[in-house]
């Protein structure tokens, strides 16, 4: 079968697809591990297309924000507080965009992890809704693997998301995740007092 030209062509196309996916994959892979991305710190707004995010603070805690102490929960958590602006025309999918587009880079370059959960910063509720043009302060929560303290300063990656008038598969307009855009670099401290959107 491997001598058959058609199968060779299919194999070549398949290999090319794998290489392309790997090349476009994420932080550290796009353009190589040493690609230099713009870095934003506390209070610096990042416009990433569909969303604009402003990191406010980050901290490590033994419980999730707003939860009562739980003796059965032995986990430790890394929390990033962001002011988020939805720049799309609808509040329908923006929360999913946030979860997909802001990732923790455990080693500062790669090993990207999506937040396990999103909570509003003011009342800690899980029903995060990012309405258009209405800044909202959100806590993104990651459980630290093995409870091990994160690398300091902690680094997050922000992907760009652009509006596509006609997607290839369905011809529908959509906001599609693009390339890695910016890194957020913050010292993860013990507490965070900033919490209101304004």
């Amino acid at each position: 079968m491997s001598r058959h030209r058609g199968w060779r062509a299919v194999a070549a196309v398949g290999l090319l697809a794998v290489v392309m996916v790997a090349a476009l994959g994420g932080f550290g892979r796009h353009g190589g591990r040493n690609t230099v991305y713009p870095i934003a710190g506390v209070g610096q707004r990042v416009d990433a297309g569909a969303l604009a995010v402003t990191p406010l603070c980050a901290w490590v805690a033994s419980g999730k924000p707003g939860r009562l102490p739980n003796p059965f929960d032995k986990g430790r958590y890394l929390i990033l507080r962001l002011r988020v602006e939805n720049l799309t025309e609808s509040g329908a999918a923006a929360t999913a965009y946030l979860q997909d587009d802001v990732v923790w880079l455990a080693d500062g370059k790669t090993d990207q992890k999506e937040a396990a959960q999103l909570q509003r910063a003011d009342d800690h509720s899980f029903g995060v809704q990012l309405q258009p043009r209405l800044p909202t302060v959100v806590d993104l929560v990651w459980e630290l693997p093995g409870g091990v303290a994160p690398r300091q300063p902690a680094v997050w990656g922000v992907f760009r998301r652009e509006r596509v008038e006609r997607t290839y598969l369905t011809n529908e307009q959509a906001w599609v995740q693009g390339k890695p855009d910016t890194k957020l670099r913050l010292q993860a401290g013990d507490a965070c007092t900033q919490g209101r959107a304004s």
């Binding site: 009562l68 025309e89 609808s90 509040g91 329908a92 003011d122 009342d123 509720s125 899980f126 029903g127 809704q129 309405q131 258009p132 043009r133 209405l134 800044p135 909202t136 008038e165 006609r166 369905t170 011809n171 529908e172 307009q173 959107a197």
Partner: protein, 190 residues
């Protein structure tokens, strides 16, 4: 012959360009209405009775709360008191606000504010029972003027080629100013 072929080709190109895009082809079918008017869609009916504004709500304490819960807005809360009724089967009637410039604000989930069964967003409603409840929207105050409330079947997004009830809230400049002036700092919903 050549001229005819060119004309046919030009016609094909023109028709292709004039063809509506996919989103336009499958857009919901809009049923217009006004406040105080019952509008019946394929399988549900809605009547918006009143709109009200508040900066925050006070709701009952949750199971683990020590005190009543304050539900703050990022902009301002608009509540719409409605009568809603599924006509064929039990299900969800969802709501969104469409601003004058086309932005869509979805109603807040039924846990925010938590009102038992009275926050209709995400609340399953029973067939043939006209329920009275409300939908809540967190909106920038400067986007209220000209906004319409829209209702659709299901709890995701408006169905393609399904009915979308569109209620003109009558929010011209004067009505919006009056509504904003009457906004309650904290509305007690306990």
């Amino acid at each position: 012959m050549l001229v005819a072929a060119v004309l046919v080709l030009a016609a094909v190109v023109w028709l292709r360009r004039a063809e509506p895009d996919y989103d336009a082809k499958v857009a919901p079918i809009v049923l217009p209405g006004a406040v105080g008017q019952r509008v019946q869609a394929r399988n549900f009916a809605v009547e918006v009775k009143k709109a009200k504004l508040a900066h925050a709500y006070l709701t009952k304490a949750g199971l683990f709360d020590a005190a009543p819960r304050t539900v703050a807005s990022d902009g301002i809360w608009m509540s719409l008191l409605v009568e809603a009724e599924p006509l064929d089967e039990p299900g969800f009637i969802s709501a969104q606000l469409r601003t004058r410039d086309g932005l869509i604000y979805r109603a807040s989930d039924h846990g925010r504010p938590e009102l038992g069964g009275s926050n209709f967003n995400g609340q399953e409603l029973l067939t043939g029972l006209r329920g009275t409840g409300a939908y809540f929207f967190d909106v920038p105050p400067d986007r209220l003027e000209g906004a319409h409330a829209q209702f659709y079947w299901g709890n995701v997004t408006p169905g393609q080629m399904d009915h979308l009830i569109d209620i003109d809230l009558g929010l011209d400049a004067a009505a919006t100013r009056k509504l904003l002036a009457g906004a309650t700092p904290t509305l007690d919903l306990r």
